[in-house]
């Protein structure tokens, strides 16, 4: 909350003091001094989507691991073996993704 107040407060106070002399050239998107060519929001590599999907899978897996790690002392051998099987299944999926070259950037 205080962080918000600090950030917004500094911006508002700053806007009172600082200079404002905008003109068309200054407001153009920066492209190394040339007038911008084409649309900035272009098509981009599908690899980013694949990474995002893999992230969802692995992050959910990590979230499953946290509570297991916390109660490790209290659970028995059964839960431990269960989690080993879970990690092995994930590893199979991981190897599949690797073989499908999901991690290769051309």
């Amino acid at each position: 909350m205080i962080a918000t107040a600090f950030a917004l407060g500094a911006l508002v106070v700053g806007s009172i003091f600082r200079l404002k002399r905008p003109y068309a050239e200054k407001l153009m998107p920066y492209e190394s001094g040339n007038p911008p060519v084409g649309e900035p929001r272009q098509r981009f590599s599908v690899k980013f989507y694949i990474i995002a999907m893999l992230f969802v899978v692995f992050d959910v897996e990590a979230v499953f691991l946290y509570p297991w790690a916390i109660v490790f002392d209290k659970i028995g051998l059964y839960a431990f073996i269960e989690m080993v099987i879970f990690i092995v299944i994930l590893f199979v999926g991981y190897i599949y993704a690797w073989k499908k070259e999901a991690f290769v950037w051309d």
Binding site: T4, L11, G14, P29, Y66, A69, F72, F91
Partner: protein
């Protein structure tokens, strides 16, 4: 006095107000000290790198250039705030604020020494990870809303880099969680003090390695600073930002480094404690206050950040992704399995 007041307002509310006041003062102290640290982290970085490159670094403002961070801050404060005409205005305004808030909020759960923590959450570690991924929103939105090619590419790169390394980081901490049996950062430190080696870095060296590499990538520092690679992307996602909005990104990044260093000190290096075998050997060291040890560990890792920056060149993007996915994640998973096996063996389950 209290009883008179309590006839007017609800009973118990004075204690309540007092408690809130204490918390507010604590927050203000922590933020002020953290921002001062961040300011001097930039000075420290410039000096360290300058001396590694046989230069002198800042020395004009004040003795040894000690007032340089304040001069920079004041300069950025009074600079014009340029907003590109084609930018998506609300998002462009908000994204540096999101980035900065996410970084500062993480400070709330860090125990600086025994008992001094603003919010003693029992899920402190999870909260930190959540906040570090919230910062990614600020980066992505700034890259998108600037409507500039450099920003757009920087934002994309940052997004996939941060999420890739977040998995490795989250998995590398599971080993610590197994050993400590808690997500509360104070409990983790106490568990380390009770442990024979005193620090978790010795049994968890694999996790430590994965965490260090992931920490560099998460904070977009060299050798993984591809989102803002200045030789190809100008400044990456904050190319279009100027003035104080740029300063917010800058402060957020250095606060992120400070938080990663603190997390490393807390989870692997024993936080405010020192191993018992050292205090048994040299008894008077236990008289040193905990904050000194904590800050020493944090500064050592900050120095390591600068050292790496001055030493290593930048990775290529495909190399970055290969390290994250093909090396760190399997290593972290193996670390979890080994830690689990050893712990089960110690408990006599196997």
């Amino acid at each position: 006095m209290n009883t008179i007041l309590e006839t007017i307002i609800a009973p118990g509310s004075i204690d309540f107000a007092l408690a809130i006041g204490i918390i507010l003062v604590k927050i203000a102290v922590v933020i002020a000290i953290a921002l001062l640290h961040v300011a001097y982290a930039t000075y420290f970085e410039r000096k360290v790198i300058a001396h590694m490159q046989v230069r002198l670094g800042p020395r004009e403002v004040g003795p040894y250039g000690l007032f340089q961070p304040f001069a920079d801050g004041i300069k950025l404060f009074f600079k014009e705030d340029i907003i590109p005409a084609k930018a998506d205005k609300p998002l462009f305004y908000l994204s540096p604020v999101i980035f900065f808030i996410a970084a500062l909020t993480s400070l709330a759960v860090l125990p600086f020494f025994d008992g001094f923590v603003i919010a003693d959450l029992n899920i402190g570690l999870l909260f930190l990870l959540a906040m570090s991924s919230l910062g990614a929103y600020g980066i992505i939105l700034s890259g998108w809303s600037s409507n500039s090619k450099f920003s757009f590419l920087g934002g994309l790169r940052a997004a996939s880099q941060v999420i890739s390394y977040e998995i490795a980081m989250g998995l590398s901490l599971v080993g610590v969680m197994i050993m400590a049996g808690s997500l509360n950062l104070s409990d983790i430190v106490r568990a380390q003090h009770a442990y024979p080696t005193g620090v978790f870095v010795i049994p968890q060296f694999l996790g430590f390695f994965v965490f260090v590499v992931a920490a560099f990538a998460e904070t977009n520092r060299l050798p993984f600073d591809l989102p803002e690679a200045e030789s190809e992307l100008v400044a990456g996602y904050f190319t279009e930002y100027s003035g104080f909005r740029f300063a917010l990104f800058f402060l957020g990044e250095y606060t992120g480094m400070l938080i990663m260093s603190s997390l490393l000190a807390l989870c692997f290096l024993g936080g405010w404690t020192i191993p018992r075998f050292i205090t048994d050997f040299i008894p008077f060291l236990s008289a040193v206050p905990g904050i000194v040890w904590f800050l020493m560990k944090v500064y050592a890792f900050m120095f390591f950040y600068y050292w790496v920056r001055a030493t290593l060149p930048r990775y290529r993007y495909d190399q970055l992704m290969a390290i994250g996915w093909k090396l760190l994640i399997p290593l972290a998973l193996i670390n979890i399995l080994i830690t689990g096996l050893v712990k089960a063996w110690i408990k006599g389950l196997l």
